[in-house]
Amino acid sequence: MAKKFLSLALILTLLLAAFASFPVAAQDRWDGADDLPVNPLDCPMAEGAEMAATEEAEGEMMMPEYDGGEPVDAPDLAGQDITLVDVPKLIGVGYFAATTQGMQEAAEELGNVSVTTDGPTEANIDDQIAVIDNYITQGVNGILFAANDPVAIAPVLTRALESGIRVVGYDANSTPDARQWFVNQAAFEGVAKSLVDNMAEQIGVDGSFAIVTSTFTTPNQARWIAEMQAYQEKCYPEMTWLETVEAQEDNILSFNQATTLINKYGPDMDGIFGMTSIATPAAAEAVTQAAVCPLASSEGAAASEDDAVVVVGLATPNAMKPYVETQCVERVVLWNPVDLGYAAVYVMRRTIDGEFLPGATEVDAGRLGMLPVVNNSEVLLGPPFVFTAENINDFDF
């Protein structure tokens, strides 16, 4: 028995050793984990970066070749009351509560749209497919979705199109031919530009920074970092990229990684990027506890110019409010999910009314004005939204 146990334990150790050597080595070139080419935007001009971003987006749109899908024998519901269902990645989280709020605002404004939000309680593609499938059987006029997986969701969306149901995505895309339009909250290159620009404004064009991300291969984060690298090399060649560390989407690990960075580089590090809505507040907490806030509040003196560490990152406002209030963090980059949900309903309404057809270059989205079409069948919400002390309290998600 003991002998057997010993040999089994040995096998197990060998297995573990084999898998402990997974490729986690730091990468020199960020490939975005998907081998797509990077596409850095123009550097900020004197007049302001936001104009450039919109112009760039529109500039790309010379010849939009629509690559979305088309519903089969869809009834003509132009101007009539329609029933929509919204299936987000999951329900019960602040982010998708905000998109739902935007949808209800749009529905109220339009007056002839009713939207119900229903989705899985965990961000699980399997459950999401079942929810959508049931609504197809039940019969709705349109489906709005935020996909948990772009490919896995495609068969059920195709089934919706085949049943004459209109399909519009937002937040997380599917393969293009499985839906009609996708409302893109922020292009990857736009987010990268906004992050790097905001960092450069605070630490100077020759500053040095580190990044705390989820994992090197998480699709969105990897793509953002790839775009950030390309954009920084193009526009801020003097900046120093110290290190990129993984912290899963784990609060404590993110905090520990940020603290390690602060201790390791000391005055040599000027800024930290947080790439997830977990990493950014954790980095802000680490900076606060290490007393290296660039602009200290009433309590405690400001850290000297040399020691100060600026945090810029992607995060939801609620998580960042404490740090913005103490002025430890000045800017948080994200998009406005209320506008995102709002735009999705408008795009659906315009599509059903026949006012937004394949080949169009822009769409009228109510209070958001005309939104440009990018990437053949995507509607771009606009440049990312920067939360600051002035506006962060207007949001609750």
């Binding site: 898998f19 984990a33 309680t121 499938d133 059987t137 039940q138 997986d149 896995a152």
Partner: protein, 344 residues
């Protein structure tokens, strides 16, 4: 020794009438009753519910869980449990994608790799449980994390896409008018039911569940049979992974997460005692069907998915309560009946 009693019946063989009566009061009867009530109520709730199209479409959603529930019934009958099935689905699916796309194997061979991965994963579970004596709960809880980690590590969290059309037939196509995967489920369910009810191997599982030491002394190869059923569990998880990848046309490392709970819920709803010793394949299949009817029917009548979970949880508790109450009531009735017969 080939015919071991299924339940602890002390008297002579029960008459046909007794059997019919006990069957009605057993879990299967309760489930059929709840199922019929659910069908009627839900049919009134939504006109789209009780249609051939909808019901056939639903079988696509239950096939994978159903396949894994078959060996899970065996395992729970022996008093064991397998929490790692969802993770095995994940690692098998990843092996399918990785061996096809990264290693360049033909897709046919990649399917074999997928299923073999499942078998191996199940075999390792069985080996440790039997040879090292790790309790099944602990062992499969550990491999739940271990296999999921493997899936994430091997795939580097990247998904594999772009499967050819023929591959997607299993998950999305039809065969003789029924969804392809329904045929797979039906065939396996029949085989598993016959093996459990009519073979020495099947009967030995009840013996192990009722009294493992006794079974061992009766000459039943307890260890071997346990390794077989855990390997079977891996095998079916591998096949389920294949079907799931075919249905969703992509491979992700988080595939199958949380399935172990759906599977165990269906098996227990089907009347298999979590303490071992009793249970049938028919019961498990009824459990699977009932849960899917409720999920689908409630959604169609406009109940949101969070409320649906609450209803399913309540039905699970209710049916087990009814079963226990009705079971003891029926037991008391027959005993009294027998006594009066003996007295006269």
């Amino acid at each position: 020794m080939t015919t071991l009693p299924e339940t602890k019946v002390l008297d002579d063989a029960p008459s046909l009438r007794d059997r019919l009566g006990s069957a009605l009061f057993r879990q299967e009867g309760v489930l059929i009753l709840i199922g019929i009530i659910a069908l009627v109520v839900l049919a009134f709730g939504s006109e789209n519910f009780l249609t051939v199209d909808n019901l056939l479409n639903q079988t696509r959603f239950l096939a994978e869980i159903g396949l894994i529930a078959l060996p899970m019934t065996y395992i729970i009958i022996t008093g064991g449990i397998d929490l790692s099935v969802g993770a095995i689905v994940g690692v098998s699916a990843i092996m399918l994608g990785v061996s096809w796309q990264n290693w360049g194997l033909p897709l046919e061979l990649a399917i074999v790799v997928c299923i073999l991965t499942g078998v191996l994963a199940g075999f390792v579970n069985g080996l440790f449980i039997v040879r090292v004596g790790v309790p099944p709960l602990i062992m499969t809880l550990a491999t739940l994390a271990f296999y999921r980690g493997l899936a994430e590590g091997i795939s580097e969290s990247r998904s594999v896409r772009g499967y050819p059309d023929w591959f997607e037939q299993l998950g999305q196509g039809n065969f003789l008018g029924l969804p392809t995967q329904l045929w797979v489920l039906i065939v396996f369910a029949i085989v598993f039911a016959i093996v459990l009810a009519r073979t020495t191997f099947g009967r030995s599982l009840y013996a192990i569940g009722n009294n493992e030491l006794g079974a061992r002394f009766s000459g039943i190869p307890v260890g071997r049979n346990k390794i077989i059923i855990y390997s079977l569990s891996g095998l079916m998880a591998g096949i389920a992974a294949w079907i799931f990848v075919s249905r969703t046309t992509t491979t992700r490392s988080d595939y199958g997460s949380g399935w172990e709970l759906d599977v165990i819920a269906a098996v227990v709803l089907g009347g298999t005692s979590i303490f071992g010793g009793t249970g049938t394949i028919i019961g498990t299949m009824l459990g699977i069907v009932l849960i899917q009817i409720l999920k689908n029917g409630l959604a169609l009548t406009g109940v949101t998915s969070d409320a649906t979970i609450v209803v399913i949880g309540s039905v699970l508790i209710l049916s087990i309560l009814i079963n226990n109450y009705a079971g003891s009531l029926f037991g008391a009735l027959t005993r009294r009946l027998r006594q009066t017969q003996q007295n006269t």
